[in-house]
């Protein structure tokens, strides 16, 4: 099954973390991608900071373009990966090893991808 892992962070909480520690953990993020290469599809991405986000919203007079992310939450999406593994337990097991989970305010949302469109027939 395929799952999207959405990596989210709280920039306000990360601001108080020692930069050396952030750096050290970031190095292990590369290692994590190497270790899990067999389960990762190519389509993942790391995103530039949320300050660069632009949102296109529906409006009464057609689409509206605004500065900023799609919601006002403190959590921001930092990137995503696509996993191809046997089941949810395998996805959870890999997500649990994400090095940044040692830092405060980090969360990974796991969402199954729609693969079988016959369910909508």
């Amino acid at each position: 099954m395929k799952y999207v892992l959405m990596f989210t962070a709280r920039p306000d909480l990360l601001a108080s973390v020692d930069p050396a520690r952030t750096e050290e953990i970031y190095a292990r993020v590369y290692q994590w991608f190497g270790d899990n290469a067999a389960h990762l599809a190519d389509s993942g991405a790391e995103l530039h900071p949320v300050t660069t986000a632009t949102t296109v919203k529906s409006g009464d007079d057609g689409p509206v373009v605004v500065d900023g992310p799609f919601n006002e939450a403190k959590e921001v999406i930092g990137g995503f990966s696509v996993l191809d593994v046997a089941d949810m337990d395998a996805a959870i097991a890999i997500a649990k090893t994400w090095p940044q989970l040692e830092l405060p305010g980090i969360a990974i949302e796991i969402r199954p991808m729609v693969e079988d469109y016959s369910q909508f027939e």
Binding site: A86, D87, M88, D89, A91, A93, D116, Q119, E121
Partner: protein
């Protein structure tokens, strides 16, 4: 087939068969949602038909035929099911000696499911209760409960939560989730009155399920510990309510009404757990229950031993409720200790302000220390917080009893 207790027989048959059928049909069709729905429908059909015509000679076979027919009907109806059935992996036989219900139970208690959905789903899929029975047991709205169950089942299928027993490195954590659900199931059943209005005894179902888990995972000390704890607690069920349906506390119970066979079975289970040399919260709670079981009276109870067991339990579970219970035991060691125990209870005031048993316990201690005005105030607060009828009646009795008449 015996007709002495048709509802009891019906309940036991459904409990024994329905979880196994859900497990087998899930494997066969590769779709847990379809399998569970087919078995649930068969259970509802059985309840109607068996009550009307009496149970068939082979109730298990009857249920299996009905569930299979429902599953095949559903497959014929939906292309989605057909697609799932076609891409389903070949049926996987469970590991040797493992109960077929165990993978199902781990899926129903999966941490990716909402905590409030786990118990409801377990009761339906593993224990064979119907949605109306569960709604009645928890006094919740049936429609809302049904939606919660549907959401959880869909998530199991859509999010790829597999019906498997976790590998050894994840077993301890996941087993903790399973045991917690069984423990809550027991408490829900144990707190509510087991009067004739209820057609399923949740506490008895939980004792049974704890036994299934322990037998299937014989190396897991806490699984045996939970089975021991629930068996020992349930052995006292006959003494927990008086003829008027009022709750009777441990100190006032008629100990001759305890079930000696069940108590002995509970002690055997605890010994079995102890041989694995891996103590935990359920084993320690069972050891405390065993201390009560072996005491002839409340006064002759080995309170020092019980306080010691609570100290050990605090290392595994430092929750305020455990500290409250420890204080109750300590208060039995004499007037000086009772005053100190009250001090410990008062320290929990912030954390347990909304817990009715905190105020009820405090009221009891104040009564014992002769501070009846404060005791009444505490009992009144407790009364305002409990939702259980039997507990309300007990608290009212305490409020209206003159302190001097208190025989404890």
């Amino acid at each position: 087939m015996s007709t002495a207790d048709p509802d009891g027989l019906l309940a036991r048959t459904l409990r024994e068969e329905s979880g196994l059928l859900v497990a087998r049909l899930s494997r066969r069709f590769g779709d847990f949602d379809l399998a569970e729905e087919a078995v649930q429908t068969a259970v509802v059909e059985a309840l109607t038909s068996w009550r009307r015509d009496g149970a068939p000679d082979r109730p298990g076979a009857w249920l299996q035929v009905a569930a299979e027919r429902n599953a095949l009907d559903a497959v014929r109806r939906g292309s989605r099911q057909r697609a799932l059935a076609e891409r389903a992996p070949p049926p996987e036989e469970p590991r040797d000696g493992t109960d077929e219900r165990l993978p199902l139970l781990f899926a129903c208690c999966h941490p990716a499911l909402a905590p409030e959905a786990r118990l409801a789903l377990t009761l339906r899929a593993v224990v064979g209760l119907t949605t109306p029975q569960i709604a009645r047991a928890f006094l919740v709205n049936e429609t809302a409960l049904a939606q919660r169950i549907v959401r959880a089942k869909r998530k199991i299928v859509t999010a790829g939560i597999s019906l498997t027993v976790p590998p050894p490195d994840q077993l301890a954590e996941r087993l903790g989730d399973v045991l917690r659900v069984v423990y809550v199931m027991f408490n829900e059943g144990f707190v509510s009155s087991t009067g004739p209005s209820q057609d399923r005894d949740l506490a008895a179902d939980a004792v049974w399920l704890a036994g299934v888990v322990a037998t299937s995972l014989p190396q897991e000390a806490e699984a045996w510990g939970l089975a021991a704890l629930l068996t020992l607690q349930h052995a006292r069920a006959g003494a927990r309510f008086d003829a008027q349906g009022r709750l009777v506390l441990l100190r006032d119970q008629d100990r001759t009404a305890w079930d000696p066979t069940a108590l002995a079975a509970g002690e055997d289970l605890l010994e079995r757990a102890a041989t694995l040399r891996s103590p935990g919260r359920y084993q320690l709670q069972a050891a405390i229950a065993a201390c009560h079981a072996s005491a002839a009276t409340w006064a002759e109870t080995d309170w020092l031993q019980i306080v010691t067991l609570y100290d050990l339990l605090l290392a595994h579970d430092p929750s305020p409720v455990v500290r409250l219970n420890r204080a109750v035991a300590r208060a039995q060691l004499g007037p000086e200790q009772a005053a100190l125990a009250l001090g410990e209870v008062d320290e929990l005031a912030d954390e347990l302000a909304s817990y009715h048993l905190f105020h009820a316990t405090r009221g009891q201690l104040l009564t014992e220390l002769g501070r009846s005005d404060e005791a009444d105030a505490a009992h009144r607060t407790a009364l305002g917080l409990t939702t259980n009828d039997a507990e309300r009646r007990l608290l009212l009795t305490r409020l209206h009893r003159h302190p001097l008449e208190d025989g404890s």
